[in-house]
Amino acid sequence: MASTAKAIEPIISAAWGKPQSWTLDSYRKRGGYEALKKALQMEPAAIIDEVKKSNLRGRGGAGFPTGLKWSFVPKDSPKPKYLAVNGDESEPGTFKDRYILEDDPHMMLEGIAIAAYALGVHTCYVYLRGEFKFPAERTQAAIDEAYKAGIFGKKVLGKDYELNCYLVRGAGAYICGEETALLESLEGKKGWPRLKPPFPAVVGLFGCPTVVNNVETLASVPAIFQQGADAYAKLGTDKSGGTRLVCLSGTVNRPGVYEVSMFTTLAELIYDDKYGRGMPAGRKVKAVIPGGSSAPVLGADELDVAMEFEALKVKQTMAGSGGVIVMDDATCMVRSLWRVARFYAEESCGQCTPCREGTPWQTRLLRKIEEGRGEPGDIDMLSNVASSIAPYPPIGLGNTICALGDAAALPTHSFLMRFRDEFEAHIREHRCPFGDKPWGSFGDWS
């Protein structure tokens, strides 16, 4: 399909791929740190109001309004306050924060400085997943530059406000992207999520008020002060301001990270010339996961939906972390779900029984069905196991402390709802109907 999707002026990705885009020099030439200058002349409360007005919503998965989150931090607490940046990008299908960290880390650092000043934070920890060696090198170099330039340190751009920023690398645990597990990990412990409430804004890092924000969320903050909150809000919908990054992967011609408007639909992302450029000849879309592997899967007839929090909620799925995974008609749905289920079994932290026991159980059942050993009753059992972790339709959180349980159960519920016939065919035929090509044949390894 030709390009009909509404073009946008990129904000976050504008400099990606340009020479030296990750340096302070490049960022300053593009007007970098001017927003911080403006913010430093404002009252902290007024900064939070601007962010509220901008309708910026968290880009890590839950889509919580950022300004509102900031306003939950108690103003009169005698304890120090902290900002923790969530760069534990590990949700399968999600790879956008990596590009910010590699190609324009100062945009995030400026967001950090604005947020810290607004919140009364003097120490910020940037937590990156352990596997991000190169992104960590780029980010650390940017932090060092910011210290040298007087953006971090005893004063922020000459203002008498101390701000320190430290980079911490995780060590391989998806669960640490859950905000309270991230705080546990930052405290030097294994990543076991905490019961909420209390929420981190009140009792967070070291028992102190803490805001946890995603990398892209913070990178979006400077634009609010450059353009003005109203202009930023107007780019999006009534409830979700600005632009957002989406990550397109799977069986499309041109996978990648694209900055899109909140009105861009899944179909446009997959087929438009500006984005995915459709499927290879002879192939059709069978299924699309719209927001990282935890998001309920959609069928080919459900793609005319904007990739925005509210619109996807109507379809009983979620915008999540922006990870769009496309599966074509040569892809086996049992095999796909088995692979997704294995991920959650591997990454379950082991704290809550339904998740610890349920995620490997799902995996064993799916393997049995995929390998042609499935029996009548296995599908109902699978549905039962998923419901024991988190019932469907969801009624708030499932039966576990954190959302990993829901994340593990939702794919199962949604695959069974939309592709039950494929599961039944496996059991009836005592084999995978796709034979030894469950993934179709894509790329060089076909």
Partner: protein, 163 residues
Amino acid sequence: MAEPLFTSEEEQKKFDAGIAEIISHYPPDRKSAGMLPALRLLQEIKGWLPPEGLRLVAKHLEVTPERAMEVASFYVMYHLKKPGKYVIDVCTNLSCSLWGAEKMLAYLEEKLGLKAGEANEKFTLRETECLASCGTAPCLQINEDHHESLTQAKLDAILAKLS
């Protein structure tokens, strides 16, 4: 007597300076928060986390060695056994599998004579979870260096450089 943990003055110096820097990032009564960076530092120096190293880290952070072990055994990037010289982590999650990751892993298993999860002196081969390279699938990491959009020819060229 057992061999000393650090076999050169340089190693000892790197550890001491690193630990001091790490501890300085946290409130004075929260030294134990430095556990993840401290274990990473130890692994960078020794290539893995030997038991006497865990005890040393625990001592510096003023916690019990069991606490260090608890953290070291929770996160998959820490090596509690000495790995091969090159640790190869192959992503086989959904987006990579759609671009042939399972076949790439099978190719590596045959080429290296190792099953995923096995190791020899030179290589540790592991199946790993999503590495955030879904748009440039399939991908793998070798000692934390990222390699993306892999074809068989590209992979062969990378392996040929590992001595």
